[in-house]
């Protein structure tokens, strides 16, 4: 919603190996990368703005596990970043002109290859499940300002005491603008925030469950990927 205004071009979410700084997999979603980091030891989320000339490489990165790149940073000497810590997992290249860039990985270890393939497979499954989750969450999105409205109205509803006919100024203002008597406005807002909050709470819990489930599987059997994605749909639908 409001963060739309801060979206920048060429921002990538990457899972980066803490030892080699090699990029294991990329995703449009930092949530998916964080989820992967829970299951692949010594890996971290890095969200970085890369030069536009690398768009093609990043876009196709997960399609090939032989084309390997390292994330680089201009480093602490210029005061831009603290290397080798969370959120700054990148190889320091002091002469680099920009904060983050990538370079070809020369020595690719077998371990890196294995982790990369695993990360790609799990990324595919989690990204598919995240899309499903967004579809189910979409059911309770009814305005572009819901991200602010729902938390605000939740606290306003909590402060109202309908049995004493007390409604907060915020709720009163909403009622006037919506053209509803305040009692009806209270009922409607309470229904909306309750329905939304419970729905989102459940989806959040399922996402946690899916992360754990996906990270327990290696998906070397391709059919298991489809089965897991189908299971997610079933769980989101039925709760079983």
């Amino acid at each position: 919603m409001l963060d739309t205004f801060s979206k920048k071009a060429n921002i990538s979410s990457m899972l980066v190996d803490q030892q080699t700084f090699g990029i294991l997999t990329v995703s449009v979603s930092p949530a998916v990368i964080n989820a992967l980091a829970e299951g692949i030891p010594n890996s971290s989320l890095m969200v970085a703005q890369l030069p536009g000339k690398h768009n093609e490489i990043i876009r196709n990165y997960n399609r090939s596990s032989t084309n390997n790149y390292i994330l680089t940073t201009s480093g602490s000497e210029k005061g831009y970043a603290i290397p080798s810590a969370e959120l700054s997992v990148a190889k320091v290249v002091p002469e680099q002109e920009i904060i983050f860039d990538i370079e070809k990985m020369d020595n690719v270890t077998e371990q890196f290859n294995v982790s990369r393939q695993l990360a790609n497979r799990r990324q595919h499954v989690l990204a598919s499940i995240e899309t499903k989750l967004e579809r189910y969450a979409g059911r309770v999105v009814h305005s572009t300002v819901d991200d602010v409205f729902i938390p605000y109205m939740t606290t306003e509803i909590d402060k109202c005491i309908p049995e004493n006919n007390y409604y907060t100024p915020g709720l009163e203002a909403w009622a006037i603008s919506a053209g509803l008597p305040v009692k009806q406005a209270y009922q409607e807002c309470k229904m909306v925030v309750s329905s939304t909050n419970i729905t989102i709470m459940r989806l959040h819990a399922y996402w946690k469950w899916f992360i754990s489930h996906v990270n327990s599987l290696d998906f070397s059997d391709q059919s298991l990927m489809q089965e897991t994605i189908a299971l997610a749909e079933f769980k989101l639908r039925s709760g079983m």
């Binding site: 309750s194 729905t199 989101l236 039925s238 079983m240």
Partner: protein
């Protein structure tokens, strides 16, 4: 131990029970019914998983009433309980007719209308005009949280379930989709039933026994099964009836607080004695709604559509035992409930 209900994804989607020919045969029912825990209300046949028949088939019938009279009587009966009545409204045809019946005959303060934004989207005019100004409302998701926990819910939960089973849907929709609406009016016989089963993907080697199973129970039907539409009715009214009640009950701490509105004896009697309108199964329901709302647009344009968002992502056990104990998904071992002396097995071995 018998089961009131169970749903198993392993049973539906995997082949792990393929060593059991009767279970494999039972699984083919998933081709015609997505939730095929079927219970024969006539107690003529038994399925591989020991089912506890909670709703025995009506044996005597009385003079049929109009749907309107059935609904009015049902509301009066529920009002008499003196309990707070939580009426679930999805905005669809069945729940709107149900709620209108309460609006006509129940005191406003005995009613809480349970709905969410999907309900409002489904029928916004009714929400704004008839519900919000006059009734206490409660979010469906909040209600489902309450009924899932013991001691948190006081009152009766009234759902609009069982309406479909009075008029032969939704399996009739599958017949129409596979073979066209004309099929519903054709005579019920083995040949037409076989056509339907084949069109739905039931393996050819299972068809004779399945037809046999249905024919054995049809002999006990209180209504003659003359057409394919009658067969659809029989599937819902006999085999599916219990499953429909259980899909909400399985999510409740105390299932005795659940009432399915359309399951009263009046409704069942009237359903048994229907002569049928295979062109629009819910047309009479819509006419009653029109009489109350005077909303010609709804009457003209509203189509039946599944309203099941109340279940979305709501944690649910896999089943219920005959003692109403909930069976968590992780604890379910279907073979614990296997009934080796079931009718399918006997027919296979005959």
């Amino acid at each position: 131990m018998k089961l009131n209900y169970v749903f198993s994804t392993e049973l539906k989607h995997s082949n792990i029970y393929d060593d059991y020919k009767d279970i494999t045969l039972f699984r083919s029912l998933f081709n015609i019914d997505a939730d095929a825990f079927l219970v024969d209300r006539t107690d003529t046949i038994s399925f591989p998983f020991s089912e506890n028949n909670i709703f025995p088939m009506l044996t005597t019938t009385t003079t049929p009433l109009s749907w309107q009279e059935c609904a009015d009587n049902r509301v009066k009966e529920l009002v008499k309980t003196g309990e707070k009545l939580y009426v679930m409204w999805s905005g669809g045809i069945d729940s709107t007719l149900m709620l209108i019946s309460f609006m006509k005959h129940a005191p406003n303060d005995q009613i809480v209308v349970v709905l969410n934004q999907d309900s409002v989207k489904e029928y916004p005019r009714f929400y704004k005009t008839n519900i919000l100004p006059s009734y206490q409302i409660l979010a469906t998701e909040e209600l489902m949280l309450l009924v899932g926990q013991s001691n948190l819910f006081n009152g009766l939960l009234i759902s609009a379930e069982h309406a479909d089973q009075l008029v032969g849907s939704p399996i009739s929709d599958l017949v129409v989709k596979k073979l066209g609406r004309t099929m519903l009016g054709l005579p019920y016989n083995d040949e037409n039933f076989e056509k339907f089963l084949l069109s739905a993907g039931v393996p050819i080697y299972h068809i004779d026994i399945l037809i046999n199973i249905y024919n054995m129970t049809i002999e006990k039907s209180p209504r003659p099964i003359k057409t394919m539409w009658d067969l659809c009715w029989w599937h819902g009214f006999n085999f599916k009836w219990q499953t429909i009640a259980m899909k909400l009950a399985v999510r409740m701490a105390d299932p005795t607080k659940l009432i399915t509105f359309y399951s009263s004896n009046d409704f069942q009697n009237t359903s048994i004695q229907q002569t049928g309108n295979v062109l629009n199964l819910k047309s009479e329901f819509k006419e009653i709604i029109l009489d109350y709302t005077l909303d010609g647009n709804y009457w003209k344009t509203k189509e039946k559509f599944a309203s099941s968002t109340l279940y979305y992502s709501l944690s649910s056990p896999a089943g219920l035992t005959e003692k109403w104990d909930r069976i968590p998904v992780r604890d379910l071992n279907l073979i614990d409930y296997y009934n080796a002396d079931n009718t399918l097995r006997r027919l296979i071995n005959a």
